[in-house]
């Protein structure tokens, strides 16, 4: 329990660092957002209007007052009004996009972790064999192909040429979001290629990670003892070796959430998928700073929550952590 509490304290501190960075980065950069907007009116604003714009971006008062005001806003989840989808509040846009990104990244992470880990177990058990010497390097190389390239190629082959999959959107127009099977099927159909492109560039990492940890464990005394006792291969493989090798995997799973969300950014752009990444790119093009900042906080928060979940999973799986 103290272990989990220590971790929670760290995540709160890390979140605080992110909020602080978010506050200071725009202010140390040349030309803050409000100055940019005011400049774009080329002097046609009166003093009251200038003051109002500054106030809406929180750039009035002393730095300390601004900071307190910003932290308060963040805690209330109030990220201001979006300048792109005016007058939609930034937070509602943010959560709409996050829902679809969660669909994509959630399915992709789960599949990649499952496939990669199973392949890693197989490769480590038959290390030096055909599967290990051929597919381990290939899978890891796929990992180093940028999502942009993979997504473009899949889009070209299956959406444009073969027309097996749609050209964009999260579901067909005219369908109302609900939980009925037809709608869910439609969503999965639209998500297939985006999920596939994230999957292709990410499962190799799990394969290599699992394989390397397992190879080191295979020579440990407890494994040799288990085999000497005459336990079945299956039991040694899954209950003894894989069970221990999965612990570091779960930790890096949580750390990879941030990376995968970054990959989703590119994928959503290619497949015109209405997720967080797509909105972020629109926000970048129109310099919608409140959205850009809010997406960093939301993503940081999701990475921190993922890390907390992995800590809890580690405590459940690893009794040694429960003592400390």
């Amino acid at each position: 329990m103290t272990y989990i509490l220590r971790r929670v304290a760290f995540y709160l501190a890390a979140f605080f660092v992110a909020v602080t960075l978010n506050f200071f980065i725009p202010r140390i950069m040349p030309g803050d957002p409000s100055a940019r907007i005011i400049a774009s009116f080329q002097g046609r604003l009166n003093d009251a209007q200038v003051e109002a714009i500054r106030a809406s971006y929180g750039t009035t008062g002393s730095l300390w007052e601004q900071y307190i005001g910003y932290v308060g806003q963040v805690l209330r989840m109030d990220f201001g009004i979006s300048t792109v989808q005016f007058p939609e509040p930034t937070s509602s846009l943010l959560f709409y996009g996050a829902t679809w990104t969660l669909v994509l990244v959630g399915i992709a992470i789960a599949l990649a972790f499952l496939i990669g880990t199973m392949m890693g177990i197989h490769a480590a058990w038959n290390r030096g064999g055909f599967f290990d010497s051929v597919f381990t390097p290939i899978n890891v190389m796929l990992n180093a192909f940028t999502p942009a390239v993979v997504a473009l190629l899949l889009f070209y082959a299956f959406s444009l040429q073969l027309q097996w999959f749609p050209l964009g959107r999260a579901h067909s127009t005219g369908l109302v979001p609900s939980w009925d099977p037809q709608f869910i099927g439609n969503v999965l159909y639209h998500a297939t290629l985006p999920v596939l492109s994230i999957l292709i560039v990410s499962f190799g990492g799990w394969h290599l990670g699992m394989r390397n940890v397992m190879i080191n464990l295979l020579n440990e005394d407890f494994v040799i003892l288990a085999r000497a006792k005459g336990l079945s291969d299956r039991r040694v493989r899954y209950r003894y070796v894989a069970r221990n090798a999965i612990l570091p995997q779960i930790t890096s799973l949580a750390l990879s959430v941030g990376f995968l969300l970054g990959g989703a950014l590119v994928t959503e752009q290619v497949f015109n998928y209405p997720g967080l990444g797509k909105f972020t790119v629109t926000a970048i093009e129109s310099r919608d700073y409140s959205f850009i900042q809010a997406q960093l906080l939301l993503l940081t928060m999701s990475v921190l929550v993922a890390n907390l979940l992995s800590d809890i999973a580690n405590v459940i799986l690893d009794p040694r952590l429960r003592k400390g």
Binding site: P26, L152, G258, G262, T280, V281, I284, T300, L304
Partner: protein, 345 residues
């Protein structure tokens, strides 16, 4: 006809001898030949062991050769082009031909010229950012691991924060505030956000090293701390530093491509990422101009693949069990051929 091997004149003892010879362990040279294990070539005997292990690693050397080829192309490629990468050089979307080896873009720019100059920028950003991140990771990791105590607490907190903060979204915030993020800005930001992993690995390794006798001896002899770090600890961290460098470079090259691809980069700069950005913006695939997409895509994939190969070799040096595992497959097949159980491995 009498059976030659089982003539009645053969005593039981003779037969036992024969069986012993048949099942005897093969000599070392026999075994090495059968397992295709080669001794280390003589010319590597003057090299430090980890370097010798690297140059005799087929995967690692393949990666190095491919990478050197790419670097050579980025240095010499522009020489063979008469065009300017930023200027119109022909009609839009000309298919590959004698004048335009890799065709032209929608804007009529020569793809080969763009690729050659773009390789320079992309590789420079990748290696620059990767090297800087690895150096920061080395400095932070060694300091945290060697000094321990309060310094370690602060640095470890910093490392964990850097690991947990999502890199790409943070870069987006920074890059969107700078008017147009050129390759240099992107490189700096990538270096500042990408050092977490190598700092963590090197810290762990340093901690296990600092209790060893030779460090203790140096301390007792009154060596100065920075000298111990440079002369005793750093050489042992070299392969971990290399690993950090390779991984940092991969992620920097991929991140640069991703950032430029979504339009955060300076659209006038020529990099692999911006080439893909323009190709996507101009619907190159939709109109069938595959030559606008493939060259930068293949360049990125080749670089990634080469770096991954090098990383495999570095992994095998830092983790000898991985290297041994390559031979275990052969040993198992060898034992199976001799009718022995391969279960011991």
């Amino acid at each position: 006809m009498a059976d030659v091997t089982h003539t009645p004149s053969m005593t039981l003892l003779d037969r036992l001898d024969e069986a012993a010879i048949a099942s005897a362990a093969p000599s070392q040279t026999e075994l090495m030949r059968e397992l295709r294990i080669k001794g280390r070539p003589g010319w590597t005997s003057n090299l430090p062991p980890s370097l010798a292990a690297f140059v005799t690693n087929p995967k690692g050397m393949t990666g190095v050769i491919v990478l050197l080829g790419l670097i050579l192309f980025s240095l010499l490629g522009p020489v063979f082009s008469e065009y300017n990468p930023q200027r119109r050089a022909g009609k839009p979307h000309v298919a590959p031909s004698y004048e335009h080896v890799m065709g032209t873009t929608r804007m009529g720019k020569d793809v080969y010229t763009q690729l050659a100059y773009g390789s320079r920028t992309s590789l420079a950003v990748g290696f620059g950012a990767g090297l800087a991140a690895a150096l920061i990771g080395l400095a932070v990791g060694i300091s945290a691991g060697y000094f321990g105590g309060r310094i370690d607490d602060v640095l470890t907190f910093l490392v964990n924060v850097v690991l947990v903060l999502p890199g790409l979204p943070l870069i987006i915030v920074i890059a969107s505030l700078v008017d147009s993020a050129g390759p240099l800005v992107i490189g700096i930001v990538l270096a500042l956000t990408g050092w977490g992993w190598s700092a963590r690995t090197i810290r762990t390794q340093t901690m296990s090293l600092r209790t060893r006798e030779f460090i203790l001896a140096a301390e007792l002899m009154g060596e100065r701390k920075w000298r111990i770090i440079l002369k005793e600890i750093f050489p042992n961290m070299l392969s971990f530093f290399m690993g950090g460098l390779v991984l940092g470079t991969i992620s920097a090259i991929l991140a640069e491509a991703a950032l430029s691809f979504i339009g955060l980069g300076d659209p006038n700069a020529v990099t692999w990422g911006t080439m893909l950005y323009w190709a996507q913006n101009n619907m190159a695939l939709q109109v069938g101009a595959w030559w606008e997409i493939w060259p930068p895509a293949i360049a990125i994939m080749l670089t990634g693949a080469a770096l991954v190969m090098i990383n495999f070799a570095v992994d095998e040096i830092t983790n000898p069990q991985l290297k041994a595992s390559r031979k275990i497959g052969r040993i198992r097949r060898f034992l199976a051929r001799r009718g022995r159980s391969a279960d011991v491995f």
